[in-house]
Point group: C2
Chain length 370, copies 2
Amino acid sequence: MKAIAVIPGKPNSAHLVETPRPTLHAGTVLVKVIRVGVDGTDREINEGLYGAAPAGADFLVLGHESFGRVVEVGPGVKKVRPGDYVVATVRRPDDCINCRAGEYDMCIAGNYTERGIKGRHGYLSEFYVEAPTYLVNVPPTLKEVGVLLEPLSIVEKGIMQAYKIQERLVWKPQRALVLGAGTVGLMATIVLRLRGLEVFTMARTPKPNRHADLVEATGARYLSSREQPVLGLDETYGRFDIIFEATGYSPLAFEAMEVFGNNGVLILSSVTGGDRHVEIPADKLNLEMVLGNKVVVGTVNANRRYFERGVVDMQRAEERWPGLLGRFITHRVQGLENYEEMIRLLNHEKSAIKIVVELGAGAQETTAKR
Amino acid sequence: MKAIAVIPGKPNSAHLVETPRPTLHAGTVLVKVIRVGVDGTDREINEGLYGAAPAGADFLVLGHESFGRVVEVGPGVKKVRPGDYVVATVRRPDDCINCRAGEYDMCIAGNYTERGIKGRHGYLSEFYVEAPTYLVNVPPTLKEVGVLLEPLSIVEKGIMQAYKIQERLVWKPQRALVLGAGTVGLMATIVLRLRGLEVFTMARTPKPNRHADLVEATGARYLSSREQPVLGLDETYGRFDIIFEATGYSPLAFEAMEVFGNNGVLILSSVTGGDRHVEIPADKLNLEMVLGNKVVVGTVNANRRYFERGVVDMQRAEERWPGLLGRFITHRVQGLENYEEMIRLLNHEKSAIKIVVELGAGAQETTAKR
């Protein structure tokens, strides 16, 4: 079968490979891939910044945002059936205490693997085989947007962790600020709106633009950082109970510390691999944190629980704003063969929100291939 | 009766006042003060940096770390009795949702008052009157160290908040770093040792010194920042599951972010009122927070719950290290009349851990005045 792979560590090495279709074993599931989303992680792996091939392989199949349909299940599999639409989680546990408890996103040992990223092939291939514990069922009503579940799971984790943390007090959050209006920022906007908050979402470009339209379709307010800096937002709109940082620009994490309210929580989700240094008002930031009993929490990856919550929130979002999630998919690459177009969009298409690769017949088929 | 007061906002205004003994009403308790601890907050109020007199008064009685004995209770009081040793909490609630729930340390509106600090007289007086809900009973076995309960409550709150927050995951903390070996740092060392952790406590001065002796008496390890910087401690000792920052030096809050472990929690407790700026590796700190699912939590003040936990931990500490807590009290000022000596020690005595004012006969008496 065909797959899109890279040579880890080698810049711009994305290429098409012909690789054996994976074999179904007892307790595993064969999934035909329908579509796969790509993001900055794929771009950076293709830039050679990180990524690791599976043991014994010299290439890594890309793709960690999957959507597919079960073709066949091995003996002993009961949780999923042929025909089911599924999304696979990304990380595979090591044997640390968190991983053993199923909280592999909180791995403490760091010996996990990640499909499409670290030590395991990803989903940009015609088929994959996986254990059912890593497959999350998606109802057919969500089949056009199920590919967004993995990025949504990242947001669900950050927000569920924040709410769990806030059980430390009597907390009735009312106002949230989302920094960034890419896929993660938009997802955070939706999840916080679904939780009933007044949401302000800030990105660089002033209105009108596609991101602003999507933000405002949820009833949130769109702000441009070119028109109004983060510092001072609290004076204009009141202090924020929750801030979700998803811009990829680390200085904002520290500016955000100045505008969140007493007992508030700041969620950091940007993977910032650069070497940026900034000067900060250390006394002031520390004092704000202390006198306001504030929390900052970093969040990465997501376990099955957060994917499952994502399915629920996708359903609620589709009910409340029909068709909105589908508008997040702005660019479709037809077929694995067009990997060069996929990379071009990833590298250069600034207007993109979510770029997906459609896998031929799989994208159109409505009945499962058995 | 006599009291030590300041004119809020006026530098070096500490003086002795003669003020009416407060009147006992229904539902309140008259307490004779035995001794009062003083700290940096009292020093800064005397420097005129903050502090507010009660409405209608032109002075503020200082003192928020109290220890006293109940003299008389008003009609309807059942929770305390004459003869009881008590410590009073500091903050008095406004009507925000947290304050109404008794979590006045998490006040969201900011209209609270604080005895000895903001809008209410403190305890550096011969007597005070208080509602029993703000009085915490201290068993007679702790009467020599009960004056340490208020600073201990600050530590209990920070650590209990951290443990509550960490219910977000499977967490078995093993190694803690305490930054600072003043009263708060030493208390944090004790509480973390009582929780079974391997503790490293860092202060500036190399061994041998009194602080190091107290740290090591608990089985913790004393480190000098002159001999070894915070950055790199993780490489020497392994990463820390908990860091408790209590140095008053804000740049350490940001250095600590580089040495705490995956899923770890950094507790900030220093009130840093200065204007210090530092350059930080923003990308790196943010990335550490995100990839490690880490939490930073600020903490200030304490409600009744944390005082009560403090009493339990004081008892456990006395059992495990008899006499250790008493060694925290390094300087005793005899009588309110010696307020100038109290201020001198506060401003200049670098070797002090806890300075207390002993209130005449009250300090020696063993039977209650009824």
